[in-house]
Symmetry: C2
Subunit: 106 residues, 2 copies
């Protein structure tokens, strides 16, 4: 693997890594429905606000979400809805895995 190939896959991996956490996937799912403030996301996730804020900053640095201040609150929105297509694929993998498991038991 040469240097530029490596750089390409590292760049891709940074994006994928930003998504590789259940809480962040939950946040992306929620933001795909409507843009939401940190306080509301904190309530929905049920973790410390500092934790949620750090997850959001991971998503933001990857360029997946953007933020906007409205009064005291900061609202986040999904910049890249195409990520949702990926989730349907992930869902497909999960189903395939499940039916494979099932066939082993059958």
């Amino acid at each position: 693997m040469n240097r530029s190939t490596q750089a390409l896959f590292e760049a891709r991996a940074r994006i994928v890594k930003a998504l590789a956490h259940p809480t962040r996937l939950f946040i992306v799912d929620r933001l795909s429905k409507e843009s939401t403030c940190v306080c509301e996301l904190t309530r929905l996730v049920g973790a410390d606000m500092s934790t949620v804020s750090k997850h959001l900053s991971v998503l933001k640095s990857a360029g997946i979400v953007s933020d906007e201040k409205r009064g005291l609150q900061v609202f986040y929105r999904l910049k890249t809805p195409c990520i949702l297509n990926f989730f349907s694929c992930v869902e497909g993998v999960l189903k395939a895995n499940a039916s494979e498991q099932a066939s082993l038991v059958r």
Copy 2:
């Protein structure tokens, strides 16, 4: 977030995590072109074979690839080509990020 929602997003995260490494993305990219033995992947990646083998086992446990023994060699293939759609989205994120960077300099 209730228990079953949590379980759902954890399951999804397991799949995404399995992809969240440059070497594994490279392997998936390669396997999308043709099924390949570990020895060839090792050569292409340029790491220790044990390292590549462990990456492959991560992808396999996630249900993303499958393996088949042919003589002395083990060939891996991509089980879930829909993952490639995701990469085009990731590429889109990268391009968007790049043009945002560019506009800051402009």
